[in-house]
Each structure stands twice: as C-alpha cells, then as structure tokens.
Amino acid sequence: MKPLNPFALTVSVPPHRHCGTTVRDRMLTILVAMLPAAVMASMTFGMPAIRVMALSMATAVLAEMACDYFMDRETDVNDFHAFTVGLSFAFLLPASAPWWLVAFGSAASIVLGKMAFGPLGGSPFCAPLVGWAICRISWPSFMDIDASMLGMDLTYPLAQLKNFGLDAVQITDTRQLFLGKQLGGLGAIQIAGVLLGGMLLVMRKHVSSIIPVGVIGGVALTAFLFNWIDPSMYASPAFHLLTGSTLFGAFFLATDGPSSPNRQIPMLLFGLLVGALIVIIRIYGIYPDGVPFAILLANLFTPALERIRPKPFGRR
C-alpha cells in the first residue's frame, strides 16, 4: 500500500530559525578562551598545574553526573558547563594544591554551587567561587598561595603588599606581571592568556563587554582614589589590574549568567561594585586577593540591581 503521506513534516513552534548559539557552544567557547591561560600555566608551573586542572575538571564532571543520578534527572554534562566550572576552580588554586583539596573543592563547586539550585541557571552564585570560598575558609594554609609555593622562585605580589606594604613588592615591571611571572591562582595570573581569552569571548559575543568593563573601571577608579590619597601606601590601578585574579574574575567569573544581572545598567553597576569591592578587600580585608569574595558579595546584590529596570513598552 502506498503511504498516505510520503513524508512526515516537522511541526514546531516558532522561531523556525535560530541564531545558532547553544549552551554547549557557549561553554565550549569559554573552554577555548581559557586555553591560552591554561597553556601558559602549564609552561610556568609544569606538571603540577596540569594535574590540578585535569583533576578538577574530572571531579566536577563526575560530581555533576553523581548528582544527576541521585536526583533522578537526565544528565546534561554534555553541555560542558561542569568542565568550565572545574577549570575555573582550578585556575584559582595554587599549582601545589593537594589532590584532596582539588577534588573536594571542585565537587563542592558543583554540588553546592550549581546542583543544589537545580539545573544550570538556578544558582545565585558563580559556582567555582562557592567551592573556592569553602576551601579558603576551611584549609587556609593549603589555599595560601605564598605558603604553599615556597619552592618556587616567583613571588606573590598581593601577599607582599598585604603583609609588608607596597615597598616590599618585588615585581614592579608590569611586563613581568603581564606574562604571568608572579604567583597566584595558577591560571588566573596568566594575564596575557586571560586577556586573550576574554577578548575572544567578548568578540564572539558570548559575554557582553559591559561587566568586564565595569569591573576594570571599578578597580581602576577605586585604586586610583586610594593611590591619589597616598601613593606611598596604596598600589597603582595597573598593579591591582595585573595581579591576582582581577582580569580572570572580570571576564570569566563576574560574567556568569545566572548570578549576574541581565540588563545593561544593572550590569554596569554590578561590574563597578565588583571592581570597588576587589580593591577594598585587598586593602582592608585579611585576604590578599579579594576577587572571589568581591564577586560572591556582588552576586548577593544581583536581585537588588535587577530591580532597576525600564518600563515595559507603552506603559506609562
């Protein structure tokens, strides 16, 4: 018998065309954007850095799959989000981090920073920072970059600034900082690589430039103010921008979709807030690098910032 309809039509709701970008593309692009910094980190710190990054990503993926299994949900690890969380977490660790710390922190990032709030999109915090904060508070000595990297001949400029003041900072050449010749989170301090990746994300329109611009502006402005008050005590804006995870935070962490505002003006304010908090924490806080806590704090302000919104079309 001849079939009544020789073909079956696809019936779907509009739109019938799509911009083509999917969650998976976005996450893959983020991973690609992190590649330059990852390569630089492997060159600077060698095998230990590769070990931390690989372990962190593997744990993140396994943790997500385990959560999905226990929550009886179909897993979406194939959207690569867990990889970006794992790698971002690794980027914030010292290369010497012990394996259990990496595994615990990475799993905590996924379980408490993402899965506890449902699938991707529910979390009010930038996931890798949740794991980082837990580890930083629980095992300060292992997370302390200076203490754990005694074997290296590089120095940790932010800790020198915190503990001994501006005069003690040994690296003053911005080019050295730019090329990652400093201590800090293993990937986050690869400034040149991070900047390259950040540019890629902005240019491919995977992140809007507003938040990074806000963060950089906030850091520059606040640091400039302090520096202007007393240049012998407070570091210059360039120092704050090129040390620690400022740029990594600006391009990769603060721009995390669900935990940051969605509209232009709130995004700018959010960025400025992160930037100002970074410098304030670095100056007054007990942690040398204020970036993760600054972003976590600013995440708390997201719902408030989101209330700044224009009137809908035609409403008076």
Partner: protein, 367 residues
C-alpha cells in the same frame, strides 16, 4: 491526482475561532460563506471555488472543486461607518473592532525579513489598495491616516500621508510602526492595519465578492494565491520537493506557524509559504540557563526569561505582573535563547490562559 495546474483540486480553509456553517457533502457556490467568525474583529470564511464539502472538523473545512456558480455580488457603496465595517467582515476582511479611531495607520512594511507581499502589493495593486483605504477611512472615520512604507518605496495613496519606516526587524511590527508614526509608545485610539487587509477590503469593494485570494511570498517573489490552496502544492508546483522532516512555514521564520500537513491551506493572514530544510535547532523543553540574552534583546523591554519561566509552571498571574500583554510577539527572545526554549510558545500560552481566565470570570472589557 493532477495537482500541478494553477487551480488546485481541493482547498482547505483553516478555522481560527470560526464556526463552520456547512456539513459534509453539501454543495457550495464560489464565494459562499462556509464559516463565521466568533471573534468580533475577524472576517468570515468563504469558499474560493464551487464544489462540495469533503471534510469538516473544528479546525478545518476541506472542499473539492466541482462545477458551479458564483454568489451574487454584494452592494456596498451606499454603506458607511460601522455598518460598512461589519459588512466587510462578513465578506472576509479581518478588520479589528474599534469604537473610535483617531489615527489610522496602514502598515506597508513587510513584517519580517524575506517577506515581500506588502512591497508587491504596493508595486502592483495600487488601485485596489486605494479603494480599500478609502473604504477603511469611510468605516473607521479617523482624523488622520498614514501609510507606513519601507525606504525606497515610491508609491503612495491619495490624501494619505506617507511615513518612511526602517525595515530592520522588528521595526515593521505594528506597535513599533505606531510608535514611529505617532512618536508615542502604544498611543491611544490608534489602529494599525496591515496592507494585506487593506487589499482584501479593496477587492471586496471592487468586486462585491468575498475575499478569495491573498498576496503570498513564495521563494523570492510574491503572487496572488487563492485562499485554501494547499501549501504543499504551492511549494511543489514551484519546483521544490518536500522531504521527510522538512518544515512548511506559513508566515515569516520568526513568527510563522509550521503547517500540520502539506494539505493545510493558505489563510488570509498568510504572508509567505516557505520550506525550511536546514537542521536548525528546534526548540526544546529546556530550563532557562539565565544567560540574559533575551532580556537584552527584547524590543518591548520585558524580561522574557521570567515571563516564560512563570508560564512554564502555570503561574500566569505572575507572568501578567511581568507585563506579558505588552509583548508584541516578535520572536527575538526565542531566536537568541541559547537554551533553545520555546519562548514564543510560552508567551502565547500565558496570554491565552489569561484571556481565558478573564472571559470565564466575566470581566472581559469591551475591546
């Protein structure tokens, strides 16, 4: 079955809140009314050719072509005001029901990129448009009439101001055209009517017969196609072969509806028929990932992520509080959603449920 001829052997009229007036097997004349609209601003539906009714269900009426007569033309030139409008609706023009219209805007901008029907109407059917426009002016009695056209169009209508509007999507959509013309968002007592409706009214005025054809974009040109023509046949007679898994879309790619079957007919609102083949991501049942793309792109300054998430969980009052009624269904949120959520579908669902709830509680205000 020979379907390659210009006259299709069957026609399928899609019912969209219309009540069928015919039964299976009934013989009908060309132009006979076969369904009435139950919506105050919609026109009735008529047979595009004489024949017999093959199939009736709540969604469609199918008729098979047979020999037969045409109904007698209606006499319309002594009518005016609401009476004329009501008569035009009976003859198949979709004229919105409005008590008072101060500014009437005839929208000659094709709504979506790739659509050509309004441009073609302006280029080829100016005389009919003129008749239609004067009928609308007689009906609605507006103080001002404006024709909105995209840049580069030279044609104009007598006594009607012309406003050039950008044809960058979504600027051709009715609410944005109203803003471009009046300088105000959602101005009061302003009515925007699409050019195809003006054309339908013009045809009715000229012939006295109901609307039986419309201007449809197929491929890279637009032509008059008789209502009810099966979309599959339109495409195959254009030399296309339909394959398994293809989509036939009535209207533009951002807002149009996918045909349920190749025999579905063209209706008056159809501005284009196209075959979409590329394996673009079809919307999925996915949760919002909070990327914010839709919020930044929405021309109505809404938060489509919140609206659709509320609709997804049946919290329609909250969607209403997020001003879902302001949405003019441009479809950009769904186009840019990286989670590929069926955004427009959720929005339409919320609007539909809210309208239904209002109707049930008897609070529906007169439009």
């Amino acid at each position: 079955m020979n379907t390659r001829s210009t006259h299709t052997a069957t026609a399928e009229l899609t019912l969209n809140r219309h009540c069928p007036l015919v039964t299976c097997g009934q013989k009908i004349e060309r132009g006979e009314r076969i369904a009435t609209a139950s919506d105050p601003g919609m026109g009735d539906i008529h047979a595009p050719f004489p024949g017999s009714v093959e199939h009736v269900d709540p969604y469609r009426i199918r008729i098979a072509r047979e020999g037969g007569e045409t109904v007698d033309p209606a006499i319309l030139h002594d009518l005016g005001g609401q009476e004329l409008l009501a008569r035009l609706r009976e003859l198949g023009a979709d004229l919105p029901a409005r008590e008072q219209v101060d500014i009437l805007i005839l929208n000659g901008v094709d709504e979506e990129p790739g659509l050509l029907s309004r441009r073609t109407l302006l280029a080829e059917k100016l005389e009919t448009l003129r008749t239609g426009a004067s009928a609308l002016v007689r009906g609605y009695k507006p103080a001002e009439v404006t024709l909105a056209v995209p840049g580069g169009v030279k044609e104009s209508l007598p006594d009607i101001a012309v406003k050039v509007v950008s044809d960058q999507y979504p600027q051709g959509l009715d609410p944005l055209v109203a803003k471009a013309v009046t300088g105000q968002e959602a101005p009061d007592n302003t009515l925007v009517v699409g050019l195809e409706t003006v054309f339908h009214a013009g045809m009715v005025m000229e012939t006295g017969l109901p609307v039986m054809e419309t201007m449809v974009t197929v491929d890279n040109s637009a032509r008059l196609i008789s209502l009810g023509s099966p979309v599959g046949e339109i495409l195959t007679s254009d030399g296309l072969t339909i394959h398994d898994g293809d989509r036939i879309v009535l209207g533009g790619v951002l807002r149009g509806t996918a045909a349920a079957s190749p025999s579905q007919g063209v209706d008056r609102a159809t501005t284009a028929v196209s075959l979409i083949r590329n394996p673009t991501p079809v919307a999925m049942d996915a949760a919002c990932v909070g990327c914010g793309e839709c919020v930044r792109r929405c021309p109505a300054r809404l938060d489509p992520a919140m609206i659709t998430s509320y609709a997804e969980f049946g919290q329609y009052e909250k969607a209403e509080a997020e001003a879902v009624d302001v949405c003019f269904e441009c479809g950009l949120c769904g186009f840019f959603c990286i989670a590929r959520r069926p955004m427009l579908q959720y929005i339409r669902l919320a609007k539909h449920e809210l309208a239904k709830a209002k109707a049930q509680s008897g609070e529906e205000t007169q439009p």
